[in-house]
Symmetry: C2
Subunit: 183 residues, 2 copies
Amino acid sequence: MDKLTENLAELGTGCSLPISLEVIGERWCFMILRASFNGVRHFEGFLSEIGIARNILANRLTRLVEAGIMSRRPCDHDKRKVEYRLTDKGADLLSVIVAIRQWGEKWETGVPSNPVLADAKDRQPISRITLRAHDDRVLGLDDLCWIDEEELRNHGSGDAAGDTDRGDMVVRHLKEIGEPSAA
Amino acid sequence: MDKLTENLAELGTGCSLPISLEVIGERWCFMILRASFNGVRHFEGFLSEIGIARNILANRLTRLVEAGIMSRRPCDHDKRKVEYRLTDKGADLLSVIVAIRQWGEKWETGVPSNPVLADAKDRQPISRITLRAHDDRVLGLDDLCWIDEEELRNHGSGDAAGDTDRGDMVVRHLKEIGEPSAA
DNA sequence: TTTATTAGGTTTTAAGTTGCAACTAAAAAC
DNA sequence: GTTTTTAGTTGCAACTTAAAACCTAATAAA
Protein backbone atom coordinates (compact mmCIF):
# COMPACT_ATOMS: atom_id res chain seq x y z
CA MET A 1 0.00 0.00 0.00
CA ASP A 2 1.71 3.21 -1.10
CA LYS A 3 1.37 6.58 0.56
CA LEU A 4 -1.41 7.83 -1.67
CA THR A 5 -3.45 4.68 -1.31
CA GLU A 6 -2.98 4.87 2.44
CA ASN A 7 -4.32 8.41 2.43
CA LEU A 8 -7.21 7.41 0.24
CA ALA A 9 -8.22 4.63 2.60
CA GLU A 10 -8.40 7.23 5.36
CA LEU A 11 -10.86 9.18 3.28
CA GLY A 12 -13.50 6.62 4.07
CA THR A 13 -13.59 7.08 7.81
CA GLY A 14 -15.90 9.63 9.34
CA CYS A 15 -18.06 10.04 6.27
CA SER A 16 -21.79 10.06 6.83
CA LEU A 17 -22.58 8.50 3.46
CA PRO A 18 -22.57 4.82 4.52
CA ILE A 19 -24.68 5.58 7.59
CA SER A 20 -27.17 7.55 5.55
CA LEU A 21 -27.39 4.84 2.93
CA GLU A 22 -28.27 2.25 5.54
CA VAL A 23 -31.60 4.02 5.95
CA ILE A 24 -32.33 5.68 2.63
CA GLY A 25 -30.28 3.47 0.30
CA GLU A 26 -32.77 0.63 0.28
CA ARG A 27 -34.78 -0.27 -2.76
CA TRP A 28 -38.14 1.54 -3.00
CA CYS A 29 -37.24 4.03 -0.31
CA PHE A 30 -36.93 7.05 -2.60
CA MET A 31 -40.06 6.06 -4.47
CA ILE A 32 -41.98 6.07 -1.19
CA LEU A 33 -40.50 9.42 -0.29
CA ARG A 34 -41.38 10.87 -3.67
CA ALA A 35 -44.97 9.70 -3.29
CA SER A 36 -44.97 11.28 0.14
CA PHE A 37 -43.75 14.59 -1.26
CA ASN A 38 -46.54 14.31 -3.81
CA GLY A 39 -49.08 14.16 -1.00
CA VAL A 40 -49.72 10.42 -0.72
CA ARG A 41 -50.44 9.52 2.90
CA HIS A 42 -52.07 6.12 3.07
CA PHE A 43 -50.96 2.52 2.64
CA GLU A 44 -53.19 1.77 -0.32
CA GLY A 45 -52.16 5.07 -1.90
CA PHE A 46 -48.50 4.14 -1.86
CA LEU A 47 -49.40 0.68 -3.08
CA SER A 48 -51.18 1.86 -6.20
CA GLU A 49 -48.86 4.77 -6.95
CA ILE A 50 -45.58 2.91 -6.67
CA GLY A 51 -46.29 -0.66 -7.80
CA ILE A 52 -44.55 -2.21 -4.80
CA ALA A 53 -45.62 -5.50 -3.17
CA ARG A 54 -47.76 -5.21 -0.01
CA ASN A 55 -45.34 -6.98 2.29
CA ILE A 56 -42.36 -4.98 1.09
CA LEU A 57 -44.27 -1.71 1.47
CA ALA A 58 -45.29 -2.63 5.02
CA ASN A 59 -41.68 -3.48 5.80
CA ARG A 60 -40.28 -0.26 4.30
CA LEU A 61 -42.80 2.00 5.99
CA THR A 62 -41.96 0.40 9.32
CA ARG A 63 -38.27 0.99 8.72
CA LEU A 64 -38.78 4.59 7.62
CA VAL A 65 -40.85 5.26 10.73
CA GLU A 66 -38.18 3.61 12.91
CA ALA A 67 -35.57 5.79 11.25
CA GLY A 68 -37.59 8.90 12.06
CA ILE A 69 -38.09 9.78 8.41
CA MET A 70 -41.84 9.21 8.40
CA SER A 71 -44.49 9.40 11.10
CA ARG A 72 -47.32 6.93 11.49
CA ARG A 73 -50.63 7.54 13.17
CA PRO A 74 -54.10 6.07 12.91
CA CYS A 75 -56.68 8.51 11.60
CA ASP A 76 -59.21 9.96 14.01
CA HIS A 77 -62.19 9.99 11.64
CA ASP A 78 -61.64 6.48 10.24
CA LYS A 79 -59.76 4.18 12.52
CA ARG A 80 -58.96 1.67 9.82
CA LYS A 81 -56.80 4.22 8.10
CA VAL A 82 -53.27 5.11 9.05
CA GLU A 83 -51.63 8.37 8.07
CA TYR A 84 -48.00 8.28 7.02
CA ARG A 85 -46.25 11.63 6.73
CA LEU A 86 -42.76 12.96 6.31
CA THR A 87 -41.14 14.24 9.46
CA ASP A 88 -38.81 17.24 9.29
CA LYS A 89 -35.96 14.78 8.89
CA GLY A 90 -37.75 13.16 5.95
CA ALA A 91 -38.77 16.45 4.37
CA ASP A 92 -35.13 17.49 4.46
CA LEU A 93 -34.42 14.77 1.88
CA LEU A 94 -36.09 16.88 -0.78
CA SER A 95 -32.78 18.24 -2.03
CA VAL A 96 -31.47 14.69 -2.47
CA ILE A 97 -34.52 13.70 -4.49
CA VAL A 98 -34.36 16.86 -6.57
CA ALA A 99 -30.65 16.28 -7.23
CA ILE A 100 -31.31 12.73 -8.46
CA ARG A 101 -34.22 13.89 -10.56
CA GLN A 102 -32.26 16.70 -12.17
CA TRP A 103 -29.42 14.30 -12.92
CA GLY A 104 -31.89 11.93 -14.56
CA GLU A 105 -33.44 14.72 -16.61
CA LYS A 106 -30.02 15.67 -17.92
CA TRP A 107 -28.50 12.23 -18.54
CA GLU A 108 -31.33 9.71 -18.81
CA THR A 109 -34.64 11.08 -20.03
CA GLY A 110 -33.34 14.27 -21.63
CA VAL A 111 -36.54 16.14 -20.83
CA PRO A 112 -37.79 17.98 -17.74
CA SER A 113 -39.83 15.80 -15.37
CA ASN A 114 -43.45 16.57 -14.76
CA PRO A 115 -44.68 18.02 -12.46
CA VAL A 116 -42.07 20.68 -11.94
CA LEU A 117 -40.97 21.93 -8.55
CA ALA A 118 -41.50 25.67 -8.57
CA ASP A 119 -41.26 28.81 -6.52
CA ALA A 120 -44.73 29.28 -5.04
CA LYS A 121 -44.27 33.03 -5.23
CA ASP A 122 -43.70 33.53 -8.94
CA ARG A 123 -44.52 30.02 -10.19
CA GLN A 124 -41.22 29.72 -12.03
CA PRO A 125 -39.40 26.35 -11.94
CA ILE A 126 -36.53 26.15 -9.47
CA SER A 127 -33.02 26.35 -10.85
CA ARG A 128 -30.51 23.52 -11.08
CA ILE A 129 -28.87 22.44 -7.84
CA THR A 130 -25.28 23.62 -7.68
CA LEU A 131 -22.37 23.34 -5.29
CA ARG A 132 -21.40 26.72 -3.88
CA ALA A 133 -18.59 28.31 -1.94
CA HIS A 134 -19.25 29.87 1.47
CA ASP A 135 -19.70 33.21 -0.33
CA ASP A 136 -22.27 31.71 -2.73
CA ARG A 137 -20.09 31.46 -5.82
CA VAL A 138 -21.10 28.47 -7.98
CA LEU A 139 -18.36 25.83 -8.01
CA GLY A 140 -17.61 23.29 -10.74
CA LEU A 141 -15.57 20.09 -10.43
CA ASP A 142 -12.40 22.00 -11.28
CA ASP A 143 -12.94 24.41 -8.42
CA LEU A 144 -13.17 21.71 -5.75
CA CYS A 145 -10.80 19.75 -3.56
CA TRP A 146 -11.00 17.44 -0.57
CA ILE A 147 -9.31 18.77 2.51
CA ASP A 148 -8.71 17.04 5.79
CA GLU A 149 -10.45 18.19 8.93
CA GLU A 150 -7.05 18.63 10.46
CA GLU A 151 -6.01 21.21 7.93
CA LEU A 152 -9.10 23.20 8.76
CA ARG A 153 -8.05 23.29 12.40
CA ASN A 154 -4.37 24.00 11.76
CA HIS A 155 -4.50 26.38 8.81
CA GLY A 156 -8.07 27.49 9.56
CA SER A 157 -7.36 30.91 8.15
CA GLY A 158 -4.06 32.46 7.13
CA ASP A 159 -2.88 30.84 3.91
CA ALA A 160 -6.11 30.97 2.03
CA ALA A 161 -4.70 31.53 -1.44
CA GLY A 162 -2.74 28.29 -1.94
CA ASP A 163 -3.31 26.07 -4.93
CA THR A 164 -0.23 23.97 -4.22
CA ASP A 165 -0.28 20.33 -3.15
CA ARG A 166 1.72 19.85 0.00
CA GLY A 167 3.59 16.59 0.45
CA ASP A 168 1.57 13.94 2.25
CA MET A 169 -1.38 16.16 3.11
CA VAL A 170 -4.72 14.78 2.10
CA VAL A 171 -5.57 17.29 -0.60
CA ARG A 172 -6.91 16.19 -3.92
CA HIS A 173 -8.37 18.22 -6.70
CA LEU A 174 -11.52 16.81 -8.17
CA LYS A 175 -10.51 17.79 -11.67
CA GLU A 176 -8.15 14.80 -11.64
CA ILE A 177 -11.09 12.48 -11.42
CA GLY A 178 -12.59 12.45 -14.86
CA GLU A 179 -11.34 10.62 -17.91
CA PRO A 180 -8.00 11.83 -19.15
CA SER A 181 -8.28 13.96 -22.28
CA ALA A 182 -4.69 13.15 -23.27
CA ALA A 183 -3.12 10.02 -21.81
CA MET B 1 -60.63 7.45 -6.43
CA ASP B 2 -61.42 11.08 -5.77
CA LYS B 3 -60.24 14.03 -7.83
CA LEU B 4 -57.20 14.77 -5.70
CA THR B 5 -56.04 11.16 -5.64
CA GLU B 6 -56.51 11.03 -9.40
CA ASN B 7 -54.29 14.08 -9.78
CA LEU B 8 -51.73 12.63 -7.43
CA ALA B 9 -51.50 9.43 -9.44
CA GLU B 10 -50.69 11.53 -12.49
CA LEU B 11 -47.79 13.02 -10.62
CA GLY B 12 -45.86 9.82 -11.09
CA THR B 13 -45.71 9.84 -14.86
CA GLY B 14 -42.86 11.53 -16.62
CA CYS B 15 -40.62 11.75 -13.58
CA SER B 16 -37.00 10.77 -14.08
CA LEU B 17 -36.57 9.44 -10.55
CA PRO B 18 -37.50 5.78 -11.20
CA ILE B 19 -35.30 5.66 -14.30
CA SER B 20 -32.38 7.18 -12.44
CA LEU B 21 -32.79 4.81 -9.53
CA GLU B 22 -32.60 1.80 -11.83
CA VAL B 23 -28.95 2.64 -12.37
CA ILE B 24 -27.81 4.44 -9.25
CA GLY B 25 -30.29 3.06 -6.73
CA GLU B 26 -28.56 -0.29 -6.36
CA ARG B 27 -26.77 -1.30 -3.23
CA TRP B 28 -23.08 -0.34 -3.15
CA CYS B 29 -23.40 1.99 -6.11
CA PHE B 30 -22.94 5.22 -4.18
CA MET B 31 -20.11 3.70 -2.17
CA ILE B 32 -18.31 2.87 -5.42
CA LEU B 33 -18.93 6.37 -6.71
CA ARG B 34 -17.66 7.92 -3.50
CA ALA B 35 -14.48 5.86 -3.71
CA SER B 36 -14.15 7.00 -7.30
CA PHE B 37 -14.50 10.64 -6.27
CA ASN B 38 -11.83 9.96 -3.70
CA GLY B 39 -9.45 8.89 -6.45
CA VAL B 40 -9.76 5.10 -6.32
CA ARG B 41 -9.35 3.66 -9.81
CA HIS B 42 -8.61 -0.06 -9.60
CA PHE B 43 -10.53 -3.20 -8.76
CA GLU B 44 -8.51 -4.14 -5.70
CA GLY B 45 -8.66 -0.53 -4.54
CA PHE B 46 -12.44 -0.53 -4.49
CA LEU B 47 -12.39 -3.94 -2.88
CA SER B 48 -10.30 -2.88 0.11
CA GLU B 49 -11.83 0.57 0.51
CA ILE B 50 -15.47 -0.42 0.41
CA GLY B 51 -15.63 -3.89 1.94
CA ILE B 52 -17.75 -5.30 -0.87
CA ALA B 53 -17.57 -8.91 -2.12
CA ARG B 54 -15.48 -9.54 -5.27
CA ASN B 55 -18.31 -10.89 -7.40
CA ILE B 56 -20.68 -8.10 -6.41
CA LEU B 57 -18.03 -5.48 -7.17
CA ALA B 58 -17.36 -7.01 -10.59
CA ASN B 59 -21.08 -7.03 -11.29
CA ARG B 60 -21.61 -3.41 -10.17
CA LEU B 61 -18.64 -2.05 -12.09
CA THR B 62 -19.92 -3.77 -15.23
CA ARG B 63 -23.33 -2.21 -14.73
CA LEU B 64 -21.92 1.25 -14.04
CA VAL B 65 -19.83 1.03 -17.19
CA GLU B 66 -22.87 -0.15 -19.19
CA ALA B 67 -24.83 2.80 -17.80
CA GLY B 68 -22.11 5.20 -18.96
CA ILE B 69 -21.34 6.33 -15.42
CA MET B 70 -17.85 4.85 -15.32
CA SER B 71 -15.30 4.09 -17.99
CA ARG B 72 -13.18 0.96 -18.08
CA ARG B 73 -9.87 0.57 -19.77
CA PRO B 74 -6.83 -1.66 -19.33
CA CYS B 75 -3.72 0.22 -18.27
CA ASP B 76 -0.99 0.74 -20.84
CA HIS B 77 1.96 0.32 -18.49
CA ASP B 78 0.61 -2.77 -16.68
CA LYS B 79 -1.83 -4.79 -18.70
CA ARG B 80 -3.11 -6.73 -15.72
CA LYS B 81 -4.57 -3.55 -14.32
CA VAL B 82 -7.81 -1.97 -15.41
CA GLU B 83 -8.57 1.67 -14.81
CA TYR B 84 -12.09 2.61 -13.78
CA ARG B 85 -12.95 6.30 -13.87
CA LEU B 86 -16.00 8.48 -13.63
CA THR B 87 -17.32 9.76 -16.92
CA ASP B 88 -18.83 13.25 -17.10
CA LYS B 89 -22.18 11.62 -16.47
CA GLY B 90 -20.79 9.95 -13.35
CA ALA B 91 -18.95 13.04 -12.13
CA ASP B 92 -22.24 14.92 -12.37
CA LEU B 93 -23.55 12.76 -9.52
CA LEU B 94 -21.36 14.67 -7.08
CA SER B 95 -24.22 16.94 -6.04
CA VAL B 96 -26.35 13.89 -5.22
CA ILE B 97 -23.61 12.41 -3.07
CA VAL B 98 -22.96 15.72 -1.33
CA ALA B 99 -26.68 16.15 -0.68
CA ILE B 100 -26.90 12.71 0.95
CA ARG B 101 -23.77 13.34 2.94
CA GLN B 102 -24.97 16.70 4.22
CA TRP B 103 -28.30 15.18 5.19
CA GLY B 104 -26.48 12.46 7.10
CA GLU B 105 -24.27 14.99 8.85
CA LYS B 106 -27.32 16.89 10.00
CA TRP B 107 -29.64 14.03 10.97
CA GLU B 108 -27.51 10.95 11.56
CA THR B 109 -23.95 11.58 12.66
CA GLY B 110 -24.39 15.15 13.87
CA VAL B 111 -20.84 16.06 12.92
CA PRO B 112 -19.22 17.19 9.67
CA SER B 113 -17.82 14.34 7.58
CA ASN B 114 -14.12 14.11 6.94
CA PRO B 115 -12.60 14.95 4.51
CA VAL B 116 -14.48 18.10 3.67
CA LEU B 117 -15.28 19.18 0.14
CA ALA B 118 -13.85 22.66 -0.24
CA ASP B 119 -13.33 25.51 -2.64
CA ALA B 120 -9.87 24.92 -4.12
CA LYS B 121 -9.39 28.67 -4.36
CA ASP B 122 -9.75 29.72 -0.73
CA ARG B 123 -9.82 26.26 0.89
CA GLN B 124 -13.05 26.99 2.73
CA PRO B 125 -15.66 24.21 2.98
CA ILE B 126 -18.53 24.45 0.54
CA SER B 127 -21.86 25.67 1.84
CA ARG B 128 -24.99 23.59 2.37
CA ILE B 129 -26.89 22.59 -0.75
CA THR B 130 -30.08 24.60 -1.11
CA LEU B 131 -32.99 24.78 -3.49
CA ARG B 132 -33.14 28.11 -5.28
CA ALA B 133 -35.47 30.14 -7.43
CA HIS B 134 -34.50 31.09 -10.98
CA ASP B 135 -33.22 34.39 -9.56
CA ASP B 136 -31.07 32.58 -6.96
CA ARG B 137 -33.22 33.21 -3.89
CA VAL B 138 -32.94 30.32 -1.42
CA LEU B 139 -36.24 28.47 -1.15
CA GLY B 140 -37.57 26.51 1.83
CA LEU B 141 -40.33 23.91 1.86
CA ASP B 142 -42.94 26.60 2.43
CA ASP B 143 -41.84 28.47 -0.68
CA LEU B 144 -42.31 25.54 -3.03
CA CYS B 145 -45.13 24.01 -5.02
CA TRP B 146 -45.55 21.41 -7.72
CA ILE B 147 -46.89 22.76 -10.97
CA ASP B 148 -47.96 20.88 -14.06
CA GLU B 149 -46.02 21.22 -17.27
CA GLU B 150 -49.23 22.34 -18.90
CA GLU B 151 -49.55 25.37 -16.69
CA LEU B 152 -46.05 26.40 -17.68
CA ARG B 153 -47.08 26.36 -21.34
CA ASN B 154 -50.46 28.05 -20.83
CA HIS B 155 -49.73 30.61 -18.16
CA GLY B 156 -46.00 30.68 -18.95
CA SER B 157 -45.77 34.33 -18.08
CA GLY B 158 -48.49 36.82 -17.31
CA ASP B 159 -49.96 35.94 -13.93
CA ALA B 160 -46.74 35.42 -12.10
CA ALA B 161 -47.87 36.74 -8.72
CA GLY B 162 -50.62 34.23 -7.92
CA ASP B 163 -50.64 32.24 -4.71
CA THR B 164 -54.19 31.01 -5.28
CA ASP B 165 -55.12 27.37 -5.88
CA ARG B 166 -57.21 27.03 -9.01
CA GLY B 167 -59.86 24.32 -9.13
CA ASP B 168 -58.58 21.01 -10.41
CA MET B 169 -55.18 22.26 -11.47
CA VAL B 170 -52.32 20.17 -10.19
CA VAL B 171 -50.87 22.66 -7.77
CA ARG B 172 -49.80 21.61 -4.34
CA HIS B 173 -47.84 23.48 -1.78
CA LEU B 174 -45.13 21.49 -0.12
CA LYS B 175 -45.80 23.01 3.25
CA GLU B 176 -48.82 20.71 3.45
CA ILE B 177 -46.71 17.59 3.50
CA GLY B 178 -45.18 17.81 6.96
CA GLU B 179 -46.70 16.66 10.20
CA PRO B 180 -49.68 18.73 11.27
CA SER B 181 -48.85 21.09 14.15
CA ALA B 182 -52.51 21.36 15.13
CA ALA B 183 -54.86 18.56 14.05
C1' DT C 1 -78.47 -5.98 12.30
C1' DT C 2 -76.43 -9.12 9.47
C1' DT C 3 -73.63 -8.72 5.57
C1' DA C 4 -70.35 -6.80 2.47
C1' DT C 5 -66.49 -3.93 1.75
C1' DT C 6 -62.36 -1.35 2.83
C1' DA C 7 -57.85 -0.56 5.05
C1' DG C 8 -53.76 -2.18 6.65
C1' DG C 9 -51.47 -5.47 7.49
C1' DT C 10 -49.24 -10.97 8.01
C1' DT C 11 -48.14 -15.59 6.07
C1' DT C 12 -46.58 -18.70 2.69
C1' DT C 13 -43.91 -20.03 -1.01
C1' DA C 14 -41.06 -19.55 -5.24
C1' DA C 15 -37.59 -16.90 -7.43
C1' DG C 16 -33.82 -13.95 -7.30
C1' DT C 17 -29.76 -11.69 -4.98
C1' DT C 18 -25.91 -11.51 -1.83
C1' DG C 19 -21.71 -12.79 0.21
C1' DC C 20 -18.02 -15.85 1.17
C1' DA C 21 -14.41 -18.93 -0.28
C1' DA C 22 -12.06 -21.21 -3.61
C1' DC C 23 -10.57 -21.25 -8.26
C1' DT C 24 -8.69 -19.35 -12.93
C1' DA C 25 -6.06 -16.81 -16.41
C1' DA C 26 -3.05 -13.37 -17.91
C1' DA C 27 0.71 -10.31 -17.09
C1' DA C 28 4.66 -8.89 -14.39
C1' DA C 29 8.42 -9.56 -11.06
C1' DC C 30 12.07 -12.22 -9.32
C1' DG D 1 10.60 -20.69 -14.93
C1' DT D 2 8.54 -20.07 -10.57
C1' DT D 3 5.99 -16.79 -7.80
C1' DT D 4 3.07 -12.88 -7.20
C1' DT D 5 -0.27 -9.59 -8.55
C1' DT D 6 -4.61 -8.13 -10.75
C1' DA D 7 -9.04 -8.82 -12.27
C1' DG D 8 -12.01 -11.49 -12.61
C1' DT D 9 -15.43 -16.37 -12.47
C1' DT D 10 -17.72 -20.32 -10.17
C1' DG D 11 -20.31 -22.86 -6.61
C1' DC D 12 -22.98 -22.83 -2.77
C1' DA D 13 -25.50 -21.42 1.53
C1' DA D 14 -28.03 -17.64 3.58
C1' DC D 15 -30.86 -14.01 2.95
C1' DT D 16 -34.29 -10.86 0.46
C1' DT D 17 -37.91 -10.04 -2.71
C1' DA D 18 -42.32 -10.58 -4.97
C1' DA D 19 -46.83 -12.44 -5.74
C1' DA D 20 -50.78 -14.39 -3.94
C1' DA D 21 -53.67 -15.82 -0.41
C1' DC D 22 -55.12 -15.00 4.08
C1' DC D 23 -56.46 -12.29 8.45
C1' DT D 24 -58.60 -8.75 11.53
C1' DA D 25 -60.78 -4.49 12.73
C1' DA D 26 -63.62 -0.85 11.34
C1' DT D 27 -66.96 1.11 8.45
C1' DA D 28 -70.83 1.33 4.98
C1' DA D 29 -74.83 -0.84 2.75
C1' DA D 30 -79.00 -3.82 2.75
